[in-house]
Amino acid sequence: MARRSARTVRKRQRRSHSTTTLVAIGAVAIIAVAIIIAISIQQSSASVAVPPTLDVPAAWVDRTTIGSPDARVTIQLWEDFLCPACAQWNQGLEPRLMEELVKTGLARVEFHHFPLSQHEPWATLAAQASECAADQGAFWPYHTMLFEASSSQGASGLNMDQLKRYAKDLGLDMGTFSECLESQRYRTQVQQSAAQAIALGLNATPSVLVNGELLDNPFDYAALVEKVKQAANQP
């Protein structure tokens, strides 16, 4: 009888000890997750790097167009700032295109807004912000920042506060920029651009057109160069 009672007490003690251990493990897990979340939130509020200035004559930059006015080839980029493929294109192919085709005077690049409905309202807001940056001659560095932000932070990188932050980091006149963005001055223009994309039969971003001809695969850089050279050599 006494032995059984002692066994029951030992069993209870073990159970109580086990519960305490499990509570301690649970507490450690909760604290560990809380620390990771705190670090993650701190990282997410980080800004994006200001890109280096594009080394082209000032006369070659006209709002969302860049390149020699005498270039015989026009490359149209139809993009959405929240589209991952556009960000990939911007970070991978666009620097090469600028270096090899634009700076050499072979082609001129036109950026067109094509905000996709599934990326609203951030895509249109970012497009408007980029137009506000264009007012101050800073569309190109600003658009690079937007793609970097969207690829690393998603939609949260394109909210109103962040859009202003990038403009500030670029040294833009913040009074003018904020007024432009908050009044949605370019909303209609961006919407018209999207409608024009649909009218052209475009259904994906990025869409790249060389002298009006749509490339089958915008990521095939060799085909793009070939197309530009063909267009440049046409009489």
């Binding site: 159970r15 897990a29 929240l82 932070q153 939609a155």
Partner: protein, 147 residues
């Protein structure tokens, strides 16, 4: 084998398959296959929240499920007499994984505004593992201590 252990094994295998696929996508720089287009999945997978201390969360998820499988095996067989420790470790890892998965799902919903179905499926799996482990860990420990 107790029913809950069978359930845990099935859930771990599901988790390994999901996180394995997402790890492969990261490793091969492939496009994530998602219902309704891959755009939202790409947004999530390429966001800064998809990395923890520079390591893709997909890899960490795979490691977590692999760790759970190892702990499950040690617990089941009471290998090297470490069954109780493995049961406690299993509970801790599962709870950590479930809380972290909940946080990531919150990020998708409220910050990125993009839902990756694979990530949500993994979160549901991890939460189911944690719930099952929470409800059965005492029973497992008692059984192991009695053995």
């Amino acid at each position: 084998m107790p029913r809950h252990d069978r359930l845990l094994l099935v859930l771990i295998i599901i988790g390994l398959l999901i996180s394995g696929y997402l790890s492969y996508v990261k490793l091969a720089h492939a496009t994530v296959l998602c219902i309704g287009g891959s755009s939202a999945c790409e947004t999530v997978q390429n966001s800064r929240y998809a990395y923890l201390f520079g390591i893709p969360v997909a890899y960490l998820g795979f490691l977590a499920y692999a760790g759970l499988l190892a702990l499950w095996l040690v617990k089941r067989g009471d290998l090297w007499g470490l069954g109780v420790l493995a049961a406690q470790g299993f509970f801790g890892v599962a709870l950590f994984g479930a809380l972290f998965s909940l946080y990531l799902t919150g990020v998708e919903l409220f910050i990125l505004h993009a839902i990756c179905q694979w990530c949500v499926a993994s979160a549901v799996t991890m939460i189911a593992i944690a719930l099952t482990a929470s409800l059965t860990v005492q029973e497992d420990i008692q059984e192991l201590e009695g053995a």
